[in-house]
Amino acid sequence: MGTFLVRRILGSIPIIFGVALVVFILFNIVGGDPALMMVGKHATAQQIADIRREYGLDQPLYVQFFHYLKDIITFDFGRSYATRQKISDMILNGIGPSLSLTLPAFFITTVISVILGLLVSYFRGGIIDRVAVILCVIGMSIPSLGYILFGQYYLAYELRMFPISGYDYSFPGRFEYLVLPMILWLLLSVGYDVRFYRTAMLEETTQDYVRTARAKGLSEPRVFFKHVLKNSMVPIVTNVVLEIPLLILGSFLFETFFGIPGLGSITIDALHNSDLPVIKSMAFVMSLLLIFGNIITDIVYALVDPRVKLK
């Protein structure tokens, strides 16, 4: 286990380097001149040149890349061009609200989807399965904007069941504002997840051990809820890891409509503002999360699936 971890972490160094390279290349040819954004509508050529020098933007790209590598290794992300705030502070301030919304929403969605996924794969091919497909696809086709506008207007404004928008930094206080976005998140993503888990579970039902279990005379529900579910953990965890970026970026629309000061809107704002230091930091942080999420996945694989050995 220990050697596995070391190997995996060492193995992720080339990946991290690759991510830094791709992020740097893409975002250095993207977007407008940050100098212009900083001095605004009355900019003079002199001022633009001053800023470019000040921020090292006039240096050759490889030098800039070297600086970027140095910054990310030391976790010194610098300051945003647009808001002039420290990026590490922006990330730290945004991560709480983001995760307060997305982690519970994501967790509930996963639990409900796994249960529904089991049910529909249990009733595979039957009428319940067919109806579920239709419902799931309806859920997947309606754009998130539709859910948000509708939920905010009817549930929050007309029926006054929830606050319209807002956020409270006090710990339990914040959830009063987050319940509605969480419900909408659930509606939005349960369709896709159920479809995914249904597929994954059906693959398991064709495995030999299921046949063995059935042959042993185990009842069908027992086969499903014990053996199939347990062995579906691998695809479930895979899906969970794949959705890590969503935990941060996926809440973007919820954040702007419900006034939640999270990381999603920081990232999208940065894209619209050509705020390169923020984009580069966010892309890098999220990639790191994904890479380490993948390592954790592998460990979980080994824990739930005895067929997998960690070397």
Partner: protein
Amino acid sequence: MSTLTTTPDSIEIGQPLPKGRSLWQLGWMRLKQDRYAIVCASIVLFYFLIALLSKLDLIASPWDMKVADSYAPPSLSEFKLWLGADIFGRSVMYKTIYGTRTAIGIGLVVTLLSIPIGVFLGAVAGYFGGWIDEIIVWFYTTLSSIPSILLLIAISYALNRGITAMYVALVSTSWIGMARVMRGEFIKHKTREYVIAADSLGASHFSKIFKHILPNVSHFIILNFSMQFMGAIKAEVILTFLGVGIQGTPSWGNMIDDAKLELARGVWWQLTGATVAMFFIILAFNILGDSLRDALDPKIK
């Protein structure tokens, strides 16, 4: 890398099938008996037909004519008014149809470009292994470690947006899934008896890859095709919503983006048009995907 091979993308499929009744023939027989699959296949074909007719300017043309007042509500009096009018009084029905053409176009371009790339790179990596494998795996792991939505936006920005930029962005992110599956399958198949037999008969690498192994794993391509097609259609909507999508011609993404400015005043028809159009094709692809998976699954006899 761990020694893991069991991912949902790459299930273990028993032994290559005996000659005579190929996987495909078997699959086709099964598919024909599946009523739902037939209906869904017809729906998909119907969408392709609409797209083709629209491409030939036979229906919903011209879409940019003023046919009613600004934001005229739906009326059953004429086909083009069934879904009302947009801000400039243009027929939302026509825009939905034109949007179908845009969506099918995107789906086709993206899948037809990304699947060959994915198949080729995955096959080469899995078949040859060694440093070729390492490089290809490094490359796609790097790309897939960057959240795809950021990558999509970045590539679109870098290529000055517009439809070409979107094609490149979607192709460069969507080949990865195919490559992963193919690599896994080729690693499994290259040590199978039939490949070893072909090898002993002096078959070239090229012939082993494309003549022997590929036909045995080709059903993954079909499954991947339907998934990517859906993915591309939905990505268009998201990208347009983020301001890096299609300009000037109708697309479902544009229509949904417009809804942001319209829903508050009670104009629901553009959103509905685009959503319903998206709903049926995604539904059809979903059910068809399920049926194909069942039909091509060699374990179900």
